[in-house]
Symmetry: C2
Subunit: 195 residues, 2 copies
DNA sequence: TTAAAAATATGATGACCATCATATAATCAA
DNA sequence: TTGATTATATGATGGTCATCATATTTTTAA
């Protein structure tokens, strides 16, 4: 176990704050002074940790991916221990009411929260985005016990992300919950033999 | 045919410019002075046409939806006249290489270009977003000759939007085209009997 | 043609932003 | 403890932004 230095701890704290902000407010709303303030620091100190705002953006996206993956791992372990099949558990967690709603708190999957901005990113941050997408596809494949091809895993991933995004876009119209539930149940049925 | 007044024509030109910018650069990148400049006007005149930036945002999203729907209508008519089934034609157009790439020109489906930002919108613009989503679902249902339920149409819509977004996010990694093609062909096969 | 009305332009205001040079405070090695 | 190093804070700079009051130009109607 490597102990973190003071600087590393501060670095982590900035990242954690930024990872929350980009998911809640979007990439463009990440303001250096704001991040530092929310991390309990002053804005000038920022450049001791990151070469510029862009560097923070890339690291924050990566951090959000790791944070989200870790939470997923825990939730999955819980459900699987209750006897739920891995892929079914994943679909149910991903399209849960909780995941539908926690975007306003800067939690949840960063891909669903940000993917329509991916094509606009600078090269460095876009590489991180691509890594997250690939990791996502591999996870789905792994949860299917390798019964899904890469392409099929991509398709399921697309469906999950798209459904969550559209349901979030419909929140307030009383259709959101209906569509989300229908999608969840349909997908669970459709993929129940693939695990 | 109602002739447009000078003011109405200018209004349309501003909207057209804004509709392009939000799809290419995102909601947050829409700057009033920039829109006006690109529309060949000076920024001060803006407030004779819109009460504020937010009002433009809402109208621009609506305009982008109409523009995209009109283009789709034309492309669909063309393909259907060539004997392609409606839903197949739609899937092939939506997941085409052209649609993958035209995001950088501010063209194409505004939902795919912007949907991860929908949950962050103000009430007025979010209502427009919800309208676009619903219209999308209805279109898919109509193209399926009503053989798809609303929920199933939502699921297909989610898959299409998600696939396009993820493929755009992977552009440059040489996986983009592979996944897009695989998704297109898989979906065409899967929905070939539904029209 | 001319006065009224409508459309657009000029220029200013105050707010926010990324970045950085420099100063202070905290930590660490001796 | 003390000097050196590292981490954080202060405050400034130059840029961008939305908004608006006012001025000018263009259109319309008589």
């Amino acid at each position: 176990m490597t102990a973190l230095s003071k600087k590393e701890m501060t670095h982590q704290r900035i990242l954690q704050t930024a990872a929350k902000i980009i998911r809640r407010d979007g990439f463009d709303s990440l303001a250096v002074a704001d991040v530092m303030k929310q991390a309990g620091l002053t804005h000038g100190g920022f450049y001791a940790h990151f070469s510029n705002r862009g560097a923070l953006l890339a690291e924050a996206l990566d951090y959000a991916g790791a944070e989200s993956a870790e939470l997923l791992r825990q939730n999955l372990a819980q459900r699987i221990s209750e006897g739920v099949q891995p892929l079914t558990a994943f679909i149910e967690i991903y399209l849960s009411d909780e995941h539908l709603n926690n975007c306003t708190e800067g939690a949840g999957c960063p891909v669903a929260a940000l993917s329509s901005d991916f094509f606009r990113l600078d090269t460095t941050t876009k590489a991180v985005a691509a890594k997250l997408i690939e990791a996502y596809i591999e996870k789905v494949q792994w949860l299917s016990n390798q019964t899904l091809s890469r392409e099929s895993a991509f398709l399921l991933t697309s469906t999950l992300i798209g459904s969550l995004q559209l349901a979030r876009g419909l929140k307030g119209t009383d259709q959101a919950s209906f569509y989300l539930t229908a999608s969840r149940e349909d997908l669970v049925r459709r993929y129940s033999d693939r695990q």
